[in-house]
Symmetry: C3
Subunit: 350 residues, 3 copies
Amino acid sequence: QSNVTIYGIVDTGFIKKSGHDVEMGENVNNRLGFRGVEDLGSGMKATFELEHRFDLNNGTQKGKTAAGKDREFDGAANVGLKGDAWGAVRLGRVNELTTETIRKFDPFYQYGVGAMLEGNQRSPRIDNTIRYDSPNWSGFHFGASYSLGGNTDSESIDGYMVDVKDAGADNDGYGIMLGYDNGPLALVGNWSRLADSKDSSVWNLGAAYRFGPAKVELVYQQTKDKGWANGEQADWQKVGSWNNGRVVNEYQGVDELKEKQWLLGLEWKLGPGRLNASAQWMEVEASGGQHVSDKDIYKYAIGYTYDLSKRTAIYGNVAYTDYDDKEVAAVYGDTDDGTYGVQVGITHKF
Amino acid sequence: QSNVTIYGIVDTGFIKKSGHDVEMGENVNNRLGFRGVEDLGSGMKATFELEHRFDLNNGTQKGKTAAGKDREFDGAANVGLKGDAWGAVRLGRVNELTTETIRKFDPFYQYGVGAMLEGNQRSPRIDNTIRYDSPNWSGFHFGASYSLGGNTDSESIDGYMVDVKDAGADNDGYGIMLGYDNGPLALVGNWSRLADSKDSSVWNLGAAYRFGPAKVELVYQQTKDKGWANGEQADWQKVGSWNNGRVVNEYQGVDELKEKQWLLGLEWKLGPGRLNASAQWMEVEASGGQHVSDKDIYKYAIGYTYDLSKRTAIYGNVAYTDYDDKEVAAVYGDTDDGTYGVQVGITHKF
Amino acid sequence: QSNVTIYGIVDTGFIKKSGHDVEMGENVNNRLGFRGVEDLGSGMKATFELEHRFDLNNGTQKGKTAAGKDREFDGAANVGLKGDAWGAVRLGRVNELTTETIRKFDPFYQYGVGAMLEGNQRSPRIDNTIRYDSPNWSGFHFGASYSLGGNTDSESIDGYMVDVKDAGADNDGYGIMLGYDNGPLALVGNWSRLADSKDSSVWNLGAAYRFGPAKVELVYQQTKDKGWANGEQADWQKVGSWNNGRVVNEYQGVDELKEKQWLLGLEWKLGPGRLNASAQWMEVEASGGQHVSDKDIYKYAIGYTYDLSKRTAIYGNVAYTDYDDKEVAAVYGDTDDGTYGVQVGITHKF
């Protein structure tokens, strides 16, 4: 028992979005985890993490593999070794470096209605990965990861990989991160490619400056999305694909989307809580197909989190997203060219 | 770790029912849960519950949403706030008030072969719910709940809600409970409507009187079942529906079943355990369709639970159910117009 | 909390097998479990076990019932009573006796690339079972189990049992084990029949002798496989069955496979770890169909496990399997008549 720590987050509330009824939904992602550290002596440790992710409102698991299997431990499933001198290596399902590090520069941490626009190549956790994290040298640190793609050996090819291979979308994944965080300044830069993504890629830069109770953040991210990620084809590229009963194949025939996005953020400790605000602009360029065009997306969000204790808070967030048209809104899961979102709720950590 | 309490129940044994081979099965429902309470000061607390439900005999999860997803936490998944002065509010998946409170007036607690006849609108736990429970004032207490139905906005309608909406079965859910429990007397009254149930409803009254080692209980419950509950159509109403290889569509074309039921119960502390007994009568009225008719169901059950400790017990239960005919037996999951059930087993709480 | 012990194993690494890309995979099976013991007094105890099994590399559950349900607790789900004088009885999902006891005579414990050739009737855990284990009398001990098959009552037959019954494959399961383990010598003998296996059966004998840092092991096992186990038909017998995109129905029309296998094993405490090695021979006789024939399989394996602590180890294993031809290799999940396997990885227990 003493070898295992149980931890988690429960969060829910009410969300009203354009084109949706009032629904219950989360801000911070719900989770229940088990982790432990064993001291091996000589500055060495063994570590593990196993983390359920779920929808609190109906008790269902979150996450599914490309092969269609539910993920029991969507949040983390890994074992590793850690050395004071050389850093940490983990094997299994881990946080993806690009998402893990850049979301710290979004005041909404990529959660809830106010979240940073999520590129189509975002994958917060990745499978079949070996990940290295360096120690922290006066604020400098770096990380790297390598992910195996699905098995494509013709003698034993994984069922779902037949389509992936036919589409030329089978590739291993990579990630590299360089960071600095010391005193008032934090900086990060990432480059990554998801496994079985047809060589899609993401790179980004984040910068934050703290002064008094405030923090100002700036993010630039560029995504080259070829319509595949982790062995699954994007809805926007599928022929006659459906989302909640509506056909969303307006991008049929398009080979690649290029997303360039800027985010300016503010976190401000105000009273017994924190005011968060952000302004974003994303440019989406489609190439291939009949619908080649550039589209713009603007998003503005503001919210306040009121701390009842260190572990429990209530929050309210509001956001408005201005899409060029419904066609591009559909790619990002929205139904209207002007989409608002409002949410109130409670977060409890344990 | 200190923030989380792990608890649960494991129960299994052997069950022989008419029309079935001997099978392994439970009495008290199997569960493994995680819960916690955080003291926020000033008489306020934050709470959470996450509870797996499963079949002990093969290790599989129990529960599925109308959308077909397995429930990881079928038993509970909620977060809440609690005040000494004003009661408790919980958000997420919670116990349904009508089931939670009336089952206390069934000596078999609606478990196992001796259980109270379960109306077709019974749903022990409900999703997407905000539930309030009052403090206890000298035995008086009340509760209320509000449940959101599935999303039916035409822009983003949930896949499974298309059929529900076409059937006019989309509605939000409500529940209200008034209770008194003090000294020898306990009383409860409920009214509830499940979400996406075509405005079906249930109301009931329960009364119990304790004297010496015995408790006598009386329940009246009335259910108006329009063939839908929690976004799912009842088997009895489906065209050509199947249950375990047999067509059970005798009620095809029937619009509504009205169930009126009485239960008289006895719990008697006898020796190192407890004798339980009950007698029931349910009248089922079908309206609409060609098969309009009234049917009667009588059920008699007796059992003994022998306590090995406060946490562990062995039990034996016997029940006989007399249905008017096989047609109505099928609606309640039985195959014969006279159905007996016998079970022996073990329950362990942790 | 004090009533529950959390335990588990996390293990992963890299595996390269003939006909497969490099993949991440386990040696010791990954698990997360909850168990407890309650002292009932007079030498009596109540016990329970609930154990998740999963793939660490993508966080998905392992195990599926014949009815197609995922197993939340694939590793164990049972409740029991234990008496100092008379032994232990458990009910639910438990370890199958034949597998549990014979794997102790395989230096690789039937894990990873070096594992003992697993007969087609191997089922490490079984459902709907009552299992008895005797106390240990100076090294002598025995066990027995009885498993209920699926429900075949014509009034309520389980959906998946229709095919099982039509094939005449419905039967209850049995197991019996006799063992001795004292001083340098360990012996075991088993006979078992899985439920719904068309009366297939397995028997085996194991012997081990310890001297100094070494242990030498010998196993003989004979399997009569009629193409069914736990209500599921074997791939080798299915008409036009597929495995990872390849038809593997070469054994179509064959009624029964008879497997006779020998294993000679060595475990040697060498330096800070353990050297494991084994040599095996299996003879497969097919009867019925056009492809009646005898096939031979030879397998050689060697590995070293280096202990970083009592709970954490790294390992490397190599094995080579020589099949008579590809046809018989397919029955055992391999693609080549000469199949090698190499793996390195890490195991952490908690």
